[in-house]
């Protein structure tokens, strides 16, 4: 079987417009040989889940700095699962307090990456987790 490139949807939910992180990650994943689709700003969880399904991605990377993560992230996970994307990883990056990380993981978020994370760590995480499933 020909090796399929890892496909990632980079998403920016909520009202926040600070997209530096999302764009840096998108480019780093592309440079690492992955297929990256960037949703653009202000996407609802419904729009993100629909895009993930349509693009048949292996992972959704959610960038969120506004404090709305507890509302938005679990809903993204839930909508993906409802659409049958049981294996799709959900990665969250942004300003997330420690106690929320535990809760988000319990709710199905695969990993939370805080400020200061190296893009190489994210690439490695995706290769290991998506690669392991293939």
């Amino acid at each position: 079987m020909a090796e399929r490139k890892i496909r990632v949807l980079v998403a920016k939910p909520g009202l926040d417009g600070h997209d530096r992180g999302a764009k840096v990650i998108a480019r780093a994943l592309r440079d690492a040989g992955m297929e990256v689709i960037y949703t653009g700003l202000r996407q609802t969880p419904e729009m993100i889940a629909a895009a993930a399904l349509q693009e048949d991605v292996d992972a959704v990377g959610v960038s969120i700095l506004s404090g709305a993560h507890n509302t938005l992230c679990p809903r993204i996970v839930q909508l993906l699962r409802e659409r049958g994307m049981d294996d799709c990883l959900v990665l969250v990056g942004g300003i997330i307090p420690q106690e929320d990380i535990t809760r988000l993981k319990e709710q199905g978020v695969s990993e939370v990456f805080l400020p200061g994370t190296s893009t190489e760590d994210i690439v490695r995480f995706l290769r290991e987790r998506v690669g392991a499933r293939a």
């Binding site: 840096v24 506004s66 300003i95 200061g116």
Partner: protein, 566 residues
Amino acid sequence: MRSDLSLMPETKEITSPEQASAERWERETLEPVLKKRPERKRRFETVSLDEVGRLYTPADVEGIDFERDTAFPGEFPYTRGIHPTGYRGKLWTMRQFAGFGTPEETNARFKYLMAQGQTGLSVAYDLPTLMGYDADSPLSEGEVGKCGVAVSSLADMEVLFDGIPLEEVTVSQTINAPASVLLAMYLVVAEKQGADFSKISGTLQNDILKEYIAQKEWIYPIRPAMKLVVDTFEFCTRHVPKYNPISVSGYHIREAGSTALQELAFTLRDGIEYVQWGVDAGLDVDEFVPRISFFFNAHNDFFEEIAKYRAARRIWSRVMRERFGARDPRTMQLRFHTQTAGVSLTVQQPLNNIIRVAVQALAGVLGGTQSLHTDAYDEALALPTDKAALIALRTQQIIAEETGVANTVDPLGGSYFVESLTKKMEDGALDYFDKIDSMGGMVEAIEKGFPQREIQESAYQYQKSVERGDQTIVGVNKYVMDESDGMPILVINEGVRDQQVQRLERAKARRDAGAVSNALEKLKRAASDGDNTMPATIEAVRAYATLGEVCDALRDVYGLYEEPAF
């Protein structure tokens, strides 16, 4: 600049005595030392990844003329500051940006900060407010009161400034796309307090260009959004003459990843664009430009930042005189607020942020800022706690009152390095101006995605540089520790939205619905006829039309901005 001996040209042009003596030093003193002990790195660079030389000498400032380029503070071209006495007359305004949760909570934080010696206020609004949505909008779910205070109508604004006399306290409002609406609410609250508009001073951020460039909190397409900005210029010039209707902001451009030079160039070119739009609308530069203020970042690279502020003043004064024919010195004096770089704060070992903030703040002060916000050490984790906000304020007070840096004007003026870097910043910014002018102006450059792409590229290069370890971030890529968590952070009560929605419903139940719809119709007419929208906006908010309703009226007329893909 002497940075790499191997790159020195073999053939010499006519050398000045300054160059000759610098070369003698290199040959006789430097080279033997370098042979024995090479330097720590091949290339030394600023946080903007710009090369810094080993030593700066008179040879590096040969093209700089004291009278023409540096001169005296309080005089053209204001390189050394706009006040002849620097901070000896008046210290900078200590203006801490604050806002979270309900208007009641933020009002209490304001009063706390003022009781601790803060000298001005600065309001942070939440994302729904910044985007022109009410707390009860479905789009506001999860966001109400999270990264600022929630304001949906005049009823919230009345609580926010309760007990704060707006005729006496200067208030800065960080609001952009719906800025004219929040200005209107502010003025109506002041009016209800019995304040005289001619005495009200303060600042509206109202810088929509940098939203399209960097922060991306827009509502309408660029051109009608610029028209709204010009409406506030006209209105304030006539009715609120001491108020700064705009704070042209490089802060967000820098936070989005630009270099110091890009921050300087894009911000000042934005400033030129606003002045041009004002002039095109028939305003006199000497009437409205003196009330245009600026807002810069204070990042980690100390000297680069200081050079940036000094260059900003010099460029602005020359552009105002030469490009716009300004005659009033106040038109040529660039006044600015500074905030330390939020993006430089780390989650790791967060108390280290106190030190970063102190050094960044010192750069702002040595660069001659008019007002300063120092970030709190816990801001990479959450909005600041009372304790963190207090230390941030105390940092400024220590710089102001213990270090002695405010005792003399522009203490770094004349430094070979700082003067040479100031000139380099100026030249680099002028090159960017040429590029943007050749595209037709800043609005056109933004439509082409030019500043956006430049910033994205710089952000990516910086990230790579950190990951290679070329740029050190203590606690992140060097001196890393295993940390046990447990620092207390500010948690926003999830009940804020309910409380805000209740107040909104009460305000709607009490108001005269006919007056609201009349005012909104009037606003739509003003917007479609190209008239000044401020009078109708004031009438609408006075009748308790909500922020969302006023913005919807304008959305109907102007449409929405769609970001092009680039």
